[in-house]
Amino acid sequence: MGRFVARRLLGTILVLFAVSVLTFLIFNVVPNSDPAQRMAGKNATPQLIESINEEWGFNDSLPQQYVTMMKKIFSGEMISYEGREPVDDRIVEGIPATFSLCIGAAVIWMFFGILFGYLSAVKAGGWLDTTLTVVAVAGISMPVFWLAAILLNYLAYKTGIFPSQGYVELTENPLEWAYHLVLPWITLAVLYLGFYSRVLRSTMLDVMNEDYVRTARAKGLSERRVMGKHVMRNSLIPIITLFGLDFGALLGGAILIEAIFNLNGIGQYAEESLANFDLPPIMAITLFGAFFVVLFNSLVDIAYAYLDPRIRLGTSAQ
């Protein structure tokens, strides 16, 4: 098991390295315009452009440029050209909002997703199943920013039931914190909920047809035990691994939702930077997000190995 973990860790580092190189290429090499010009953004003066060229070493060789960029990001010295503030600080500031959004939504979507999926599978073919499936598929078929706009319009602007924007620190006022997050949570959860309920449903249906479920019944286990100990235990494995991947990806910032609800999280910072063509934050955020994706990818692999003894121990005897 130790070697497995070590290998994955090494792979992780390599992938992150590749991601950083790719980011570098995208922003500095691929497009057909002057990188310094683009970095200086809208307020470009010739002096600014020249100082950028100096500072970022655009006159240097490519590998040297890459090293310079990496150094800046990791030393926390990266300054954005629009806001004139340290990028890394802004990112850290945005973490509570982003994480609050993600964790809250995750709790909601997992709870309902698993519940709906379970009900659909157990009553497969019936009216409940059909209804839940329609709801689920509709959920994954809608543009989330559209749902957000509609919820905002009817539940916030028009009726004032929920606040339309802003993020309140949990430590400041837990009630307000939750109150401001309800609509974003719902919007984000609706999507994933649909997806997870369908995955669980289909996994459960597959598992319920497995031989070992038949054996469990033949042993005289109660239906509750059969469902709980055999069907669910095995059905939840793919769900948990998928969740790990999705959640990891989400931690990099839910751009659209944060922007629409003005939560000032990392995603919103990304959106602002993009709108302003402000490249340093984008680079940092990309790496930040990629880090979590890769981290959770590895966690999921490890969890999967733990959950499925066949993977953990390797198929030995025969």
């Binding site: 073919g125 497995e210 031989d211 070992y212 038949r214 054996t215 469990a216 019944r217 033949a218 042993k219 005289g220 286990l221 109660s222 239906e223 035990r225 100990k229 055999h230 235990r233 095995n234 494995i237 959950l307 499925d308 003894p309 066949r310 121990l313 198929t315 030995s316 005897a317 025969q318």
Partner: protein
């Protein structure tokens, strides 16, 4: 027999499928005495597995239509409630399935799964006691090093050992009847013999009545007392082991016997087989369902024969063939041995 352990009468099982209704089992009847070994033989699709699984209600579903009677010591199981059925399973009737790899849950240890079978009926069993019992059981079926292996996962066992573990689990609560659905089909030939020997031993030592489902007559010869031959959902012949092997009455049985490769005979030029294929259960032929593959068919075969005793001196030897006994004795010999030729076309 005095008081049959299991009494099956007119069992019929149909399934509603996409393409229409399929009658997988059409009128199966037999009795099983305590300690007796009954073999149910047939090709895939003959209905033998469905019969076995229906005995403990595993085929109950919205798509299935089950009729007839299955009585365990006089208690009717067909319409038994879920709770009643649950108590019978494992405690009174144990069942072993074909593929031991997929029949165990891959994420739980073997010992845990065995203990689970025990706890289903003895909820007060403590964890340590359950584990001890599991070790005993594994040992009793011949698994070496049971105390260590009890904590292994299914995939760490070899095929033969897994099947032994399955058998141990099925017998954990000492039921009087064991149903073994193709227990050796997924195993190597050498291992097959071991498993059969195990089943024979268990039958002797514990007076364990056994229903053995198989497509392999060689397996039958080893352990069975009585034999049921099934074809396309119906029983086509029923009798004692000797009756079936030495005085078979149905052409299908002749075909099965003829296709056995035997060490005590000349090696044939080509492996003998029964020509043709079993019919689709959706569209059974009129009358005798074996007719299209039978070289001895004649006019009367368009009428479905009843399952009857047609031999004066063997009242428990039943078959479904219109041929007269003398004709049967003659026609079943192909080049001096029991077998079945291809129908002339």
């Amino acid at each position: 027999m005095s008081e049959p352990l299991l009494s099956v009468d007119g069992l019929r099982v149909g399934f509603v499928t996409e393409g229409g209704r399929v009658q997988a089992v059409d009128g199966v009847s037999f009795e099983l005495a305590p300690g007796e070994v009954l073999a149910i033989v047939g090709e895939s699709g003959s209905g033998k597995s469905v019969t076995a699984q229906t005995l403990i209600g595993l085929t109950r579903s919205p798509n299935s239509r089950i009729e007839g009677s299955v009585r365990l010591r006089g208690e009717e199981l067909i319409d038994a409630g879920d709770e009643e059925l649950r108590e019978v399973r494992g405690e009174q009737i144990g069942m072993v399935f074909q593929d031991p790899m997929t029949s165990f849950n891959p994420v739980y240890r073997i010992g845990v799964q065995i203990a689970e079978a025990i706890r289903a009926h003895r909820p007060q069993t403590r964890k340590a006691a359950g584990r001890e019992r599991a070790i005993e059981l594994l040992d009793s079926v011949g698994i070496p090093n049971a105390a260590q292996r009890v904590d292994d996962y299914p995939h760490e066992f070899s095929g033969g050992m897994r099947q032994r573990a399955m058998i141990a689990m099925a017998l954990a609560l000492e039921p009087d009847l064991l149903i073994a659905d193709e227990p050796t089909t997924a195993l190597d030939v050498t291992v097959q013999a071991q498993i059969l020997a195990l089943l024979a031993r268990l039958n002797r030592e514990r007076n364990l009545a056994t229903i053995l489902i198989t497509h392999d007559l060689g397996v039958v010869a080893e352990v069975a007392d009585r034999v049921l031959v099934m074809y396309a959902g119906r029983v086509v012949e029923r009798g004692t082991l000797d009756e079936i092997f030495y005085d078979p009455q149905h052409p299908y049985t002749w075909g099965l016997l003829g296709s056995l490769t035997r060490m005590d005979r000349e090696r044939p030029e080509r492996l003998p087989q029964i020509s043709g294929a079993p019919p689709s259960l959706r569209s059974l032929p009129e009358g005798c369902s074996f007719r299209p593959r039978c070289p001895h068919e004649f006019g009367r075969c368009s009428e479905l024969p009843d399952l009857e005793a047609r031999l004066a001196d063997a009242p428990s030897h039943l078959d479904r063939c219109w041929l007269r006994p003398e004709e049967k004795r003659e026609r079943r010999l192909v080049e001096g041995e029991i077998g079945l030729e291809s129908p002339a076309r």
